[in-house]
């Protein structure tokens, strides 16, 4: 089956003119125009370029919503299997337009899209998580190589050939980690890397250190005697039987449990389902991880005002940071809405 490809280019590559024509609104032609003709010949019999959509760079930038909607409509009418935009090299406005239309088409028409840019094009940072952006040189002098790389990736995607890592396929990473098998085992790669590092030779780390967002702590509690305090835990303490089926590790959810009628956690009412530590003593007395008993005692003594009626709990082991961030934001919002002044977080 011959696959259908639509190309997106700007007014310049469509031969309509330079900056003086950058205001032209979107239009469509039922054929390959400009670089699309070369793409057609590179795709060979694998796919046919059924149309080209053209838009002025200024028009796209200045009428983002309308331009995007109109281009998606025009592209959709060709019923394509794949969109190729650009390549935009180091042209900023063109790069943003290419990235934006690719991301919109992939998002709404649910078809893959490919564009090409130079590493410093602002479109790379904005759109690399949402589309395939093939690495190109900084100007149209690199057109031949760029179209070759784009077409090669297009053929692989259209044929459903499993793709290698971004580095091997020549596109900017989309922010996704995927497992592959290397040529050599990890131990050998490690010793090789260390010897290169010691010799002052270049080496490539396999994972750049993530940068953690630092959240400034809230102001100290001014009036503890009247403060409402909540208990939140990543120690996996849940009502017996784990009613919400929170996973023992790699949790993707947390539980909210009413403790307003409880003074003490016991093996009869609560348990630890955490997969990352020795739970023997936590199960003997779940207060050891989620100290409800002491909190009730201090509440009665008037050390603080009130213990919040619910506890929030999850298992913090192997939990993806993205999930943990979401839990924190959701729990924080709810506590704030309910007028909680402070939180005791227990972990294990």
């Amino acid at each position: 089956m011959t696959r259908r490809v639509v190309c997106y280019i700007n007014q310049f590559f469509a031969g309509m003119g330079g900056e003086e024509q950058a205001h032209v609104p979107p239009s469509a032609r039922p054929e390959a125009v400009g670089p699309a003709m070369q793409i057609q010949s590179l795709l060979g019999e694998e796919a046919v370029v059924v149309g080209t959509v053209i838009c002025g760079d200024s028009y796209y930038g200045e009428h983002l919503e309308e331009a995007r909607a109109e281009c998606v409509r025009l592209i959709g009418e060709f019923k394509p299997d794949l969109l190729v935009a650009g390549p935009a090299f180091n042209a900023g406005r063109y790069g943003v337009a290419c990235g934006d239309i690719c991301s919109a088409v992939t998002g709404t028409l649910r078809i893959p899209s490919i564009t090409g840019m130079y590493k410093e094009n602002p479109g790379v940072e904005l759109y690399s998580p949402k589309t395939f952006i093939v690495k190109t040189s900084d100007s149209a002098r690199g057109m031949k190589d760029a179209l070759g790389a784009i077409s090669a990736l297009a053929v692989k995607i259209l044929k459903g050939t499993p793709l290698g890592a971004a580095e091997d396929e020549g596109y900017f990473p989309r922010g996704i980690r995927k497992n592959f098998f290397h040529e050599t085992n990890g131990a050998k790669r490690a010793v090789d890397m260390l010897l290169r590092k010691l010799a002052g030779e270049p080496f490539s780390t396999e994972y750049e250190m993530p940068v953690f967002r630092r959240i400034p702590p809230a102001e100290p509690v001014k009036d503890l005697k009247n403060a409402t305090i909540a208990l939140v835990s990543s120690g996996g303490i849940v009502p017996r039987g784990n009613p919400d089926h929170i996973r023992v590790s790699s949790a993707e959810s947390y539980g909210v449990y009413d403790i307003s009628r409880l003074d003490d956690l016991t093996p009869e009412n609560f348990e630890s389902i955490h997969g990352g530590y020795d739970r023997v003593w936590a199960n003997e007395d779940p207060d050891r991880v989620l100290p409800l008993d002491i909190m009730r005692e201090m509440e009665r003594e008037g050390v603080f005002g009130k213990l919040y009626d619910h506890v929030f709990t999850t298992t913090g082991t192997g939990t993806a940071v993205a999930h943990a961030e979401r839990f924190g934001q959701e729990i924080g919002e709810r506590l704030k809405k309910d007028g909680v002044d402070a939180v005791i977080l227990t972990s294990t």
Partner: protein, 428 residues
């Protein structure tokens, strides 16, 4: 120190009247081996099964894997502190049943045991899909506390590993591999111009099912120390450890440590291998500080230019990993770390629970959260319903037809952080 590994190749396993290896087949006298397993009154029942490469067999939940080894000559016996007495090992000759393994299995102790598939897609990820496995499936006596159950099963594995090798003494080795190296002072003097490399073997030491033992000593009570790499090959370091299956160092991994193998093979050519620093992963901050300072200081006193740091587990130990690398680098000792990542099932999350800018050389052992489809197997050894309580599994993982959809971390050894396999996570 010189150690010869006499490797008897095992390509098949079969029941027999006498336990022995003949023409590549390990014959097992079932009754005799069972009686060795049952030399512990903490077991109510025990059964032995075989699982061979390529068979439609799933073993679950697996606690440890042990390569059969015993001493032919030299001081001590393998698995000192458990099978052998309290004497340092690593010299003389050791018999290895290469290609055979003892796999220990029983009702779930906690949440972090794993599975081995002998065929299908999971077989690409575990070294134990390629070994001829003698599987011990036990049931503990009623009311046995979890700590004792773990200890009983751990010790049974070592006992059976030694038993099988001991019965293979009569077999001629297919290969004799010699590992010979002096101590750090001697070897550094011999190769003064080569970079001096120490190996920091981080081990989980966090409590029940999260312990590692060195000469029988529970490592969570130790400070880091130094051993000769040969000692590892004789079972000085063993697993008592069922952290997430993907990145636990089984006893088999300690015996066949790929970092030791790699550094040894390049010793005197590209580098000087100074030795192994078995180190712990404490749960407390003070413990993490103490351990990481000890590690860096030990490496400095050894004269190390560089250190290979391997992690065991993920999450909490990521902090130990960062501290170890940062403190070594501060002392001018260059580091490379081997770690896996918990990047989420979609691969889009950051993969470590902690970070240090000093970690500039990172070898990825894969994303533990990546999902894998496992078809049903004809035969289940153990209890496949336990997948719902295993790390990497969930209540809905096991389908009615016996197939499973799980995270890679449920598979033993899939993202081993000694860098045993070729897997690694990369950007797409």
């Amino acid at each position: 120190m010189r150690l010869e590994l006499h490797k008897v190749s095992v390509r098949n396993v079969s029941w027999g009247d006498e336990t022995k290896v003949e023409k590549g087949t390990l014959f097992v006298n079932r009754e005799e081996m069972l009686s060795v397993a049952m030399k512990d009154n903490r077991f109510a029942r025990a059964e032995l099964e075989f699982a061979r490469p390529g068979e439609s067999v799933r073993i679950i939940p697996v606690k440890d894997v042990i390569e059969p080894r015993c001493k032919l000559s030299g001081p001590g016996e393998v698995f000192p502190g458990f099978v052998g007495g309290m004497q340092t090992v690593g010299e003389g000759a050791t018999l290895v049943l290469d290609g055979a393994a003892v796999v220990t299995c029983g009702p779930i102790v906690a949440f972090q045991e794993g599975l081995i598939d002998m065929s299908g897609p999971a077989a690409d990820y575990s070294p134990f899909s390629q070994t001829n496995n003698v599987v011990l499936v036990v049931e503990p006596v009623e009311g046995l506390d979890q700590h004792s159950y773990e200890a009983a099963l751990r010790e049974a594995g070592f006992r059976l590993g030694w038993y099988l090798a001991d019965k293979g003494r009569g077999s001629k080795a297919d290969e004799v591999k010699v590992y010979e190296m002096g101590g750090p002072v001697e070897e550094s003097a011999r190769y003064p111009h080569l970079p001096k490399i120490a190996y920091l073997c981080m081990s989980i030491t966090q409590g029940l099912l999260h312990d590692t033992f060195l000469y029988g000593a529970d490592m969570k009570h130790l400070v880091p120390t130094l051993i000769h790499p040969n000692e590892k090959m004789d079972g000085a370091m063993v697993s008592g450890n069922c952290v997430s299956a993907c990145d636990k160092n089984t006893t088999w991994h300690h015996l066949n440590d790929p970092i030791v193998e790699e550094l040894y093979s390049r010793h005197g050519k590209d580098l000087v291998f100074l030795g192994v620093i078995p180190t712990l992963e404490d749960t407390r901050l003070a413990g993490k500080e103490r351990t990481s300072w000890f590690n860096a200081n030990l490496a400095r006193m050894l004269g190390a230019d560089g250190v290979v740091v391997s992690e065991e587990g993920y999450g909490n130990p990521d902090t130990d990993l960062c501290m170890n690398a940062a403190k070594c680098e501060k002392l001018g000792i260059r580091t490379v770390v081997i770690s896996d990542e918990a990047a989420g099932t979609d691969g889009k999350s950051q993969g470590l629970a902690d970070a240090a800018p000093e970690i500039t050389a990172f070898v990825s052992a894969g994303n533990v959260n990546e999902m894998i489809e496992l078809p049903a197997m004809d035969r289940i050894l153990g209890y496949d319903s336990s997948i719902s309580n295993l790390s990497g599994g969930a209540g809905e993982s096991l389908r009615k037809d016996g197939s499973m959809f799980v995270e890679l971390q449920a598979i033993i050894g899939s993202t081993n952080e000694l860098g045993f396999s070729r897997i690694g996570a990369r950007w797409i």
